[in-house]
Symmetry: C2
Subunit: 393 residues, 2 copies
Amino acid sequence: MKINKHFLDLQDSYLFSTIAKKALAHIADNPDANVLRLGIGDVTRPLPKVAVDAMTAAVADMGSASTFRGYGPEQGYPFVREAVQKYYAAKGVELTADEIYVGDGAKSDIGNILELFDRDNNIIIPDPVYPAYVDANIMAGRTVHYVNGDEGNGFLPMPDSVGVKPDIIYICSPNNPTGSVYTREQLKAWVDFALENNAIILFDSAYECFISDKSLPSSIFEIEGARKCAVEIATLSKMAGFTGVRCGYTIIPHELEFEGQNIGKMWMRRQATKFNGISYIVQKGAEAVLTPEGLAQCRENIAVYMENAKTIATTMADLGIWHVGGDNAPYIWLKCPQGLSSWDFFDKLLSEAHIVGTPGAGFGVKGEGYFRLSAFNSKENVLEAMKRIKEIL
Amino acid sequence: MKINKHFLDLQDSYLFSTIAKKALAHIADNPDANVLRLGIGDVTRPLPKVAVDAMTAAVADMGSASTFRGYGPEQGYPFVREAVQKYYAAKGVELTADEIYVGDGAKSDIGNILELFDRDNNIIIPDPVYPAYVDANIMAGRTVHYVNGDEGNGFLPMPDSVGVKPDIIYICSPNNPTGSVYTREQLKAWVDFALENNAIILFDSAYECFISDKSLPSSIFEIEGARKCAVEIATLSKMAGFTGVRCGYTIIPHELEFEGQNIGKMWMRRQATKFNGISYIVQKGAEAVLTPEGLAQCRENIAVYMENAKTIATTMADLGIWHVGGDNAPYIWLKCPQGLSSWDFFDKLLSEAHIVGTPGAGFGVKGEGYFRLSAFNSKENVLEAMKRIKEIL
């Protein structure tokens, strides 16, 4: 049996394991230090009450003969898809419920959807970005072309930096790790570029719920023409604190066709063959957080994180440190002070301030010299961390 | 953008949708008939109480700041993997917890694991069998070679019927749809054959919990040599009634290597890139059903289904109808009486006895002329169905 040799082209990712190891060693050497973690991209606040109530009731349903549910639809129960439909309608995006495909999270869908596409396509991926995009393509033997983020473009690369005929274009806005958000005009340029080149956009909207500036688009489908060139991959992970509950959804407009094939139908066929839907219990939780009451509870959690983000961004501004993000995203992306490399700044923060952050170099070549701070923590911890950073810089 | 044209090689599967349409039409024409469904491969009894209790507590954990859990390990929490480890130890199979990979179900893992293997491998699949094996390979552009089940081999094809150099061998035992189970000696022949040919066995053990004859193997790892050639894909769907809860696991022994690459490490890399683990809530339910108390509750449900299976098999024997399965599996695979085709017998059962079954032709070419009856129903319904079948035949 022959293995898929493209796996040998993957670079081992030691980013988070190295961070964990260094943090543990530091704790061992400094047992009395209160180490603060601003490195993680994971929520810290408990689930909204509506989700707890709905999932408790759903578990009870499963324990009773009259309400028990076995296999559900691979695409997700209509009650969840209709809840997503309403969530989008409220931001002015009209979808039909059968354009929405419920899954176990954005990471799964954004990786698995590549199966619908020929290996011989040119892949366009921003740098720096969420590392799973690159790895999923390398595994399949695809060639990745990068578009570079930098201070000049505010870490929002535009189509003019694409040097090849594009086929598959990844866009993550608000961006992980930089927190930058494309404007409507910028996204329109990407949509036009995709349409001109018969390319598909894979739009990762994982952080859309943090957009407070209503002039910024929180869905690619707010942009004219996107229904003919884009898929949107979304999640309740950050919006509703579902990172450990697992629920996302992918939107594929009916119009989306390439080479005469309907992408939604292809995805349905893929999912029906290799997926059996997500837990009924989780789907009831998802339905609940998308009600007006649920959304209000989600917004309370989001407000705490965004106050933290503001605190961090303000501190960077006070210190004269170049940064983006933090206003419409839970991440602040900063230039390492004193010309330090990403890892040198990591070591300095850890050893001098007992703070764990994330080296920008872990998100791509263009991340070197930059650093990500996350707002996912308590208000008290973030205030204390900012105090310490001011003291050491 | 170029699509994956192998999707065009897939045949549209109308099996279950055609069954549903015909059943609905029959109900419309016969509004007073009590239509009995013996076609589904889905459990009907509610979850064991231990699972309900554990998941209720887990939901509460997620609603409280001190017990909230965000992202879990992609491989599954150690508490579930250790519970699976003990479940296998009880049947004499020693595993380490890190050889166990928790996922959202067998269908996902059995499809996704193909990504680890080169496209240019010879795939060996039994006919008839669960249709997802074939479709997952066709989608990836692989060539499938069939080994045929028939009355002569009791629908348990053996290695001597493989006509090509094998690379990837699917085994489903107890088999879906036939309910046949390989003996220890037969499985040993497959393991030896795989080792001789440097092939990998993908062993689907979805129905292992229905094996009552303790001389039959319920895991491929009961067979000497299997740790060097096999992956086992298992699920709590049928064992614990988790079809709507979603939890399975895949076992990859440390020794499993091809071309110098460790298959477990490759799978971990695949999962870490395209998967984020399953719901903490579901994992707590899985842990609970694998305790001694949970297993006892599962066995109560299984006993009901197996009593139904016995009722069906006995009826077929009384009627002189050739059949297999039903003794160590929840399916009875029978030869359609009166020389009828699979679909003609379906129509006869539906129109004359108001019973919905599954035409064997839906599971492969060699299923034509055969029929699957399922034990997943209430005792009363199965008794009534058998009474009706006796009346019409």
